[in-house]
């Protein structure tokens, strides 16, 4: 029987040590890599194609959540995190299991067993990340960056470089200073998590960075369009117009 390949991604040394230590008791597995940040974790997953990943959430460069977002081929994932339980409940949908730090050995081995059974039985992990991320409760501070995959590279876009976000079926197209990028994410997520002082949902399909608006022109009978510095014209719905008036005070 082929050994199950495992990658451990956690920025804390003691946490990685503990996972390795506990895994000594499990047969037919092999830890093929250890990573201390999201970027190198992503790279390792792409090149080494593990069967199972132990993933922390709070990490430099790329959080565990962002990492899952941009993965094209998903291995089984066990989140091991000290994050609050609301976020964890959401991850339950996608990850094979999640364990709260600090965890007990019994709980850890249980999660490993569940993962191994799933891998051995050949059941894939097809639940897209956005499904669970849509349910992720709003965190107190607004997001500061958006991670996207473009061809084979990962781009981190600071939110102040985002011009506008456009809804496209199950995806959103993010138009930013140096181009555009498609991301599997909901408009609701961006409406809730982009800084409210800078971004306004002007239309069912558009969230715009107000700093990018050059002018607002009437359009048709009682509609408006927003003209951006880039020259793009976006429709403004009636409620969007009202919201803009409130935020910009005109």
């Amino acid at each position: 029987m082929e050994k199950i390949k495992i990658i451990i991604i956690d920025d804390e040394t003691p946490a990685r040590e503990l996972v390795k230590h506990y895994l000594k008791e499990v047969d037919d597995i092999e830890v093929i890599a250890e990573c201390a940040d999201g970027f190198s974790g992503l790279k390792s997953i792409s090149t080494l194609k593990p069967d199972l990943v132990f993933l922390d959430i709070q990490m430099p460069r790329l959080t565990g959540i962002e990492l899952v977002e941009v993965l094209t081929e998903k291995p089984e994932i066990i989140f091991a995190t000290a994050y609050d339980q609301f976020a964890l409940r959401a991850f339950e949908l996608n990850a094979v299991d999640y364990i709260m730090k600090p965890y007990e050995k019994r709980r850890f081995l249980e999660a490993v067993k569940k993962a191994i059974d799933k891998i051995r039985s050949g059941a894939g992990n097809n639940v897209p990340a956005n499904q669970l991320l849509a349910q992720k409760p709003e965190l107190p501070a607004p997001v500061n960056r958006i991670v996207v995959r473009k061809a084979n590279s990962i781009n981190i876009i600071p939110v102040d470089q985002v011009r506008y976000v456009e809804a496209q079926d199950d995806y959103v197209m993010i138009y930013h200073a140096t181009g555009k990028a498609l991301k599997q994410q909901t408009m609701k997520y961006y409406e809730e998590n982009l800084p409210k002082s800078d971004f306004v949902r002007i239309h069912r399909t558009y969230i715009v960075n107000v700093a990018e608006i050059k002018q607002i022109e009437p359009y048709g009978k009682d509609n408006h369009v927003a003209v951006l510095n880039s020259g793009d014209k976006l429709p403004v719905s009636r409620s969007g117009y009202k919201q803009l008036r409130e935020d910009l005070g005109f």
Binding site: D11, E17, A82, K101, P102, P142
Partner: protein, 351 residues
């Protein structure tokens, strides 16, 4: 309210001196009214003013009681006039009665009394007015100083509470993260786990055991910050390094306890947590013209973090400096070439 005259001996002496002075005044007045000077006049004045003084002393009680019920102006005036009239009548009659009983038979007191009667009433009313005025003045002054004292007490209480609150804002995540690491280490490296527990408990003792806002030396602050950084070093290994350039004459400098803690927490949170490279936290301190200059700097990763910081730590330090030093201390932050620097200027002596 306590009787104003009986509050100390000086006041009692002054009180009697005033009445003696009033007695002299009255006998002089009555001398002009009666036309000739006599011993009876002197005795009469001394005795009557002694009686009035007793009356005035006892008037305080109904007066302060009545005043504390905050009466309306007409009620107050009516009351004062009525009690004034009663006081003057009692005073005049009692004086006459006693004088007649102590003077030998055949005296001419009745004549003296008749001649000075209207002056007597006038003096009585005048003195009554003086008494009420004095008491009134006393009550308002007392109320004013009590109010001021109360406000000052309240203000210092608010300040103290705020300082306590600000000081106790140790990041709960730090404690939680440390417990996590300890939990891992108990399995993989029990000896290291033990070291970390000791460090953590030393740190918590320092942070929590201080009940007052007594200033501490920079030396003990730095000792404790070192503990904090060592605990974080266990979690992040070589990714966190520290350096200290402290001039020795700074070590005894007194500053508020745990003042610098949030700045190091920031350096760890925004530096170490968000970086893949080694983060070096450098602390510098030197004395400049009675001020201490403390600089804390760290390199950081330029990749934006997922969520911006809330600025709580910096705000906390700024507010505490304000509360302790008014506008004499300052805090400044700069970002340059991937180095985040916080510079503090603190005057010697905590206010």
């Amino acid at each position: 309210m306590k009787h104003p005259v009986f509050q100390n001996r000086v006041r009692l002496i002054v009180w009697w001196l005033i009445w003696l002075f009033l007695a002299a005044g009255q006998s002089l007045l009555f001398y002009f009214a009666f036309g000739s000077f006599s011993n009876i006049g002197v005795i009469d004045s001394l005795l009557s003013l002694l009686i009035y003084s007793g009356l005035a002393l006892s008037l305080w009680y109904p007066f302060s009681f009545f005043n504390s019920s905050k009466p309306s102006v007409p009620v107050l005036v009516g009351n004062l006039v009525a009690s004034g009239a009663v006081s003057v009548i009692i005073w005049v009659l009692v004086t006459k009665l006693i004088m007649q009983s102590i003077l030998p038979e055949g005296n001419n007191y009745q004549a003296y009394y008749d001649a000075t009667f209207s002056y007597r009433v006038g003096t009585g009313v005048f003195i009554y007015g003086l008494i009420i005025l004095t008491y009134y003045l006393f009550i308002s002054l007392t109320n004013l100083s009590e109010k001021n004292a109360k406000e000052a007490r309240l203000e210092s209480l608010v300040k103290e509470t705020e300082l306590k609150m600000l000081r106790s804002q140790i990041n709960p995540h730090f404690l939680f993260n440390s417990l996590n690491s300890i939990s891992s280490l108990t399995v993989t490296d029990p000896e290291k786990a033990r070291t970390m527990v000791v460090k953590l408990s030393d740190f918590m003792r320092y942070a929590l055991s201080r009940k007052d806002e007594q200033p501490v030396s920079l030396q003990s602050e730095l000792d404790n910050l070192r503990l904090y950084l060592e605990i974080e070093k266990v979690r992040f290994g070589d990714k966190l390094t520290t350096e200290e350039n402290i001039e020795t004459n700074c070590l005894d400098f007194k500053l508020p306890v745990m003042l610098l803690q949030p700045l190091y927490e920031n350096a760890v949170k925004h530096g170490v947590y968000e970086s893949t490279e080694t983060v070096r936290i450098i602390t510098e301190a030197r004395m400049i013209d009675g001020f201490i200059e403390i600089i804390i700097k760290n390199n950081y990763d330029t990749v934006p973090s997922l969520r911006k910081g809330t600025g709580t730590g910096l705000l906390n330090v700024t507010r505490r400096l304000e509360l302790f030093y008014g506008n004499k201390a300052s805090i400044k932050t700069t970002k340059e070439n991937n180095i985040y620097t916080v510079t503090l200027y603190i005057p010697a002596g905590v206010s």
